[in-house]
């Protein structure tokens, strides 16, 4: 049975969260929600931002969304742009996250290679290339009072593994 719930963007989010923890940029203990009795991952899809804001009050976090998705002439290769908006009350936090993302994701084939090597990546995806399409300046957020914000746009090329008929495996 093909799992259509899988998405390259979710895989990328898992990878990013893992790296942000490994580099001690985020401490997951700071995101334990008592009401929910679980640790939240502070990289949230924009659609969940309104309800998650209560748990992330005052804490640095990232909101993400897909800008666009298109297939190349070679229909096996998908090209996606993903917008990450980094929120924090401290400029230095945003600078740190932004610099980490630049360092991790600007290397095109090499960035993709590192993700492909990651053992927790779903075996249904193969990343080909990633690069930083754009980084916006840090400015006061209009959305969340008291927070600063900055956007990082990643362009990602990947393939979903297929069967002999070209359908998702």
């Amino acid at each position: 049975m093909v799992n259509y719930k899988l998405d390259a963007m979710f895989e990328l989010r898992k990878y990013l969260w893992n790296k942000l923890k490994d580099t001690d940029i985020f401490d997951e203990n700071n995101y334990y929600a008592d009401n929910l009795k679980e640790t939240l991952i502070p990289i949230i899809p924009v659609q969940q931002a309104p309800e998650m804001n209560q748990f992330l009050s005052g804490k640095k976090h990232i909101v993400y969304d897909k800008i666009g998705l298109s297939y190349e002439d070679n229909w096996l290769i998908c090209c996606e742009q993903i917008l990450f908006t980094i929120y924090s009350t401290e400029v230095s936090d945003i600078v740190e996250i932004r610099n980490f993302m630049t360092d991790e994701f600007r290397r095109m084939d090499d960035s993709a290679r590192d993700i492909n090597k990651w053992s927790n990546l779903s075996d249904k995806f193969k990343f080909h290339s990633l690069f930083i399409a754009d980084i916006s300046p840090i400015k006061p957020s209009e959305e969340i009072q008291g927070f600063l914000a900055s956007d990082v746009i990643l362009e990602v090329k990947y393939s979903r593994i297929t069967d002999n008929n070209g359908r998702f495996a």
Partner: protein, 258 residues
């Protein structure tokens, strides 16, 4: 300049059979082939079909990418960009109240501007029984203008604040200083400027695939026509120039229907 340089070949194209190292029609044919290719390249930028294809392919991609960028920004920053969508549909492609226009086309250059469209949906209200369309919602909120609300169909205004119904004195108006909230003022303009002055528009141009289309079309146009490949001692420059024009027209006609 290229055409001027190529005009030196005209005498060689109309020559008699030559003897010596290069025999037969070779000189005339080579000259004609170079003359043809130079004409194709020289007429390229002035060719209307090419110009139109160039502009259409680029504009189409920029329009698509800009729209998607604003949609994503509106979803992540609804307070700043909700006003350029119909009520309650920030980031929804089909509810956009903005569009890009291609203006002032000259040669291969074209300019782009934007237009904020009229709203056509009713202002959401939990209390009012009357339906109202705030037609200039996008432009008024973008400019941060205040809005004066006056009673039109009844003698006084009434509205709810925190569950309490407030009745205004008879005939009195209410001024809403920031109808879209403080964040909407010039926010679309800022996003527009950001897109068009940074990397995003460049990536859009690259993504348009124009280079690929251009390469395949121009190589088709540069193929030397059969007449020149045929052994002859004399070629008409006018006929070759027309041939070049026709080849360009044919090569770029299918690139984009705009």
């Amino acid at each position: 300049m290229a055409l001027q340089a190529a005009s030196g070949l005209v005498s060689l194209m109309a020559g008699q059979p030559v003897s010596g190292a290069i025999k037969d029609s070779t000189v005339a044919q080579i000259s004609a082939a170079i003359f043809y290719k130079t004409n194709v390249l020289a007429k390229l930028t002035a060719n209307k079909t090419f110009q139109s294809s160039f502009q259409n392919v680029l504009f189409k991609q920029i329009d698509e990418d800009f729209g998607q960028y604003i949609d994503a920004k509106a979803r992540t920053s609804p307070k700043s960009l909700h006003h350029v969508y119909e009520w309650g549909k920030a980031g929804n492609r089909s509810a956009r109240l903005f569009k890009l226009n291609k203006i002032s086309q000259q040669g291969l250059m074209f300019q782009i501007n934007y237009e904020l469209l009229d709203s056509r949906s009713f202002v959401p209200s939990e209390t009012s029984k009357r339906s109202h369309v705030f037609i200039k919602k996008a432009s008024v909120m973008e400019e941060g203008k205040s809005v004066v609300i006056k009673p039109r169909f009844s003698e006084r205004l009434s509205f709810n604040i925190d569950g309490n119904t407030i009745f205004m004195p008879k005939g009195e108006s209410v001024t809403v200083k920031k109808p879209g909230g403080v964040a909407t003022k010039n926010s679309f303009l800022a996003a527009y400027k950001y897109f068009f002055t940074g990397q995003l528009v460049n990536m859009s141009i690259k993504r348009s695939g124009f280079q690929r289309l251009f390469n395949s079309s121009i190589s088709k146009a540069l193929e030397v026509p059969v007449q020149i490949k045929t052994v002859r001692y004399s070629f008409s420059p006018n006929s070759i120039a027309s041939e070049a024009e026709a080849a360009l027209l044919g090569a770029f006609s299918g690139v984009s229907n705009g």
